[in-house]
């Protein structure tokens, strides 16, 4: 053998897992909710999602081109962000809302802080907060299911209310199936649960955050949600609004939540508490997105406080 062999530091073998494969799994997990959204709100939901995804990918690519960096779109994280942004839009939103949202999401929230894994706010929720603050009318123009919105460029839909505003009475079955007003991806709880199951089976996320988040909301809304204590309609609270979407897909975002499992649980509990406070005492009917954004900011400190216990400091266990 004349040629020198390749050397390198150990380990010499690696898992087959990769960032793109993880993102691919998240996309698969989001598909049931997308299909449900399209079924409920018509093809416009699909179109908005497409616009959001395409513009998110395009903005990320353009940013890399402008900065003369290797493009990062192949890690598929922009696709996930685009889908999540669209899921947070009402189906009646005009097409440019998706583009403006994608711009804010990718350029301001994600790439300005260093791209994938470096952002401190959930990109999709950051963009949603920006859109709600800028165009509150459009962003809360929830439409009734089956409104079959046409045409795309001039939305003219019958507006509706999210069940959380308490104006329309709804039954649990409709809530579960998603046959209610709301954003594209948040209404069908069945579809979101299928997505959650997929993520758990594929070990993309752990149970900690979803269980802690939903559990806390259920508990607190049962205690404080009714006229007296311990009489709240907790089932209604967890099945309405964006709780499942937030708890399964946003509060489990890798970049903006604690890396420790204990920390993930604390994060979920914190999100739950803030959600219930905003829903019951705040000015907005929905608090999931703001609660996650607020906890995103708290996540470094949670992470530090829940660091695993040092090996060898457990002392003699059975000396």
């Amino acid at each position: 053998m004349d040629r020198m062999l390749r050397v390198g530091a150990p380990p010499h073998i690696f898992t087959k897992d990769s960032t793109a494969l993880i993102m691919q799994d998240v996309i698969i997990a989001l598909l049931p909710a997308l299909l449900a959204g399209v079924y409920i709100f018509g093809y416009r939901a699909a179109l908005l999602t497409l616009i959001a995804v395409a513009s998110a990918v395009a903005f990320e690519h353009l940013w890399n081109v402008a900065l003369k960096k290797q493009t990062t779109v192949y890690d598929l994280s922009a696709v996930v962000s685009g889908m999540l942004l669209a899921f947070n839009l009402p189906a009646s939103a005009p097409w440019w809302i998706a583009v403006v949202g994608s711009f804010f999401m990718i350029i301001i929230v994600k790439m300005c802080f260093g791209g994938l894994g470096q952002n401190f706010l959930n990109p999709a929720l950051g963009a949603r907060a920006f859109l709600v603050a800028s165009w509150p009318g459009i962003m809360t123009n929830y439409v009734n299911p089956g409104a079959k919105l046409l045409p795309v460029l001039s939305p003219d839909a019958v507006s509706s209310a999210t069940p959380l505003s308490g104006e329309v009475p709804v039954d649990y079955i409709s809530l579960l199936l998603g046959n209610v007003g709301g954003c594209i991806g948040e209404t069908s709880k069945i579809a979101l649960l299928i997505g959650l199951a997929y993520l758990l089976v594929r070990r993309i996320i752990t149970w900690h955050t979803p269980v802690a988040f939903v559990g806390t909301v259920a508990l607190l809304s049962w205690i404080f949600g009714g006229d007296g204590y311990f009489s709240g309609d907790w089932l209604f609270h967890i099945l309405s609004g964006g709780l499942f979407l937030g708890a399964f897909f946003m509060a489990t975002d890798y970049s903006t939540t604690p890396v420790t499992q204990k920390g993930a649980f604390v994060f979920g509990v914190g999100c739950g508490i803030l959600t219930v406070i905003i829903r019951l005492a705040g000015g907005y009917p929905e608090g999931v997105s703001y609660s996650i954004l607020l906890m995103n900011v708290a996540s470094p400190i949670i992470e530090r406080l829940t660091a695993p216990k040092r090996f060898g400091k457990g002392g003699l266990k059975n000396a």
């Binding site: 050397v7 150990p10 994938l116 894994g117 695993p308 090996f311 457990g314």
Partner: protein, 452 residues
Amino acid sequence: MLRLPFKSRTFRGGVHPYDNKEHTRYLKIEELPAPKTMIFPVSQHIGVDSQVVVGVGDSVKVGQLIAKQDGFVSANQHSSVSGVVAAIAPRLHPNGKYVNSIVIENDEKYEVFDGIKPNKPVSELSKDEIIKIVSDAGIVGMGGATFPTHVKLSPPPGKKIDYVIINGAECEPYLTSDHRVMLEDAELLLTGCKALMKALDAPECIIAVESNKKDAIRVIEESILYRKEDSIRVAKLKTKYPQGAEKQIIFAVCGREVPPGGLPADVGVIVNNVDTCAAVARAITTGMPLITRIVTVSGSAMSNKRNFKVRIGTPIKDVIEGAGGFKEEPVKVILGGPMMGIAVYSLDVPVIKGTGAVLALTDDDIGKKVSTNCTRCGKCVQVCPMRLMPTIIDRYCDRFDPEMLEKYNIFDCIECGACTFICPARKDPLQKIRVAKGKITAIKKAKKEEKR
């Protein structure tokens, strides 16, 4: 008392690389004929280099001392063949450096040195005699760390040793050398256990084996029953990497945590590798010092896979030829397991005391490396057997912040590579940790010298 949950015991964290042991686990150990030229580096262990005691032109025999231990933490070296010393000159060492080595031309007569004769049985030897035999035989930790065994057998005074753990976890993928020793030499292993227990005044000995080696567990348990050894037991461990790491195996077997910077003796335990234990027994029963070791030859690029008994000093190109050479061009040749072994760039390096395997890996074995930003998925935190947070340490390594690195216990890292193995973003936290550790140590050393 020891807790005895009779399920597979383990520690928190760890990874499950595909173990690739099926290629060699059923293959009997074969003796590999030694080639014409043998290379013995003076450094085959942790500690001070041995002092050469032969000169060029001297004729040596099998088992003859060729370099003697220099100070306490050092080890003797013996010739594994008979022949003539051809040169004493720097030769390439598996660590990638040129190290002073004794080159011996093999006369293929294998005449045994006169001084080699069996010792008394273990029951008649005293504690100090056993340690002397081990020390004279140049035995070092053969799991790869190569720490001189006689040093391990002399714990600081006042430290009582409760358990001797024989490490048969063999958690590295591909490796089956310890597995075969346990299957084929269980009797010898038990003799070694008795000797180690006697040397350390330890009342109990536990042979810890991963659950993927059930046949070995059965064979050892049968020998224990047959020989009626009440003080030796087998513990079944969960199959997981790095189950065989010293601190992790101690925790798994007896629930004790070695404190940071501490030694196993601090918690009353001494861990020895299976092959080391067999070498101790061989040194006692035959008087022959450590001149052979079991080497697994495997990897996709090898035409045949083997478990060889190799005379120490055999260049690895001869080991590879002995197994039929390469089937295809290897990308990496690794001495030891794929998780912690050393990649060598030349096949001229010899098998030394710590070389448990020669692996010829192809691109398929290694896998592609496309790195992205860290997504903070937290997998490295979940798998770290030392409960560190590699992703955070990685960030502090990037901006090199010694204070924060020490706060996140960078020096606890045992460099097992689980974090780098599991990373979906193909980052290499371990390599950055190694570099940062070196830098911090250098800074500390410089500061100390300034104070003087």
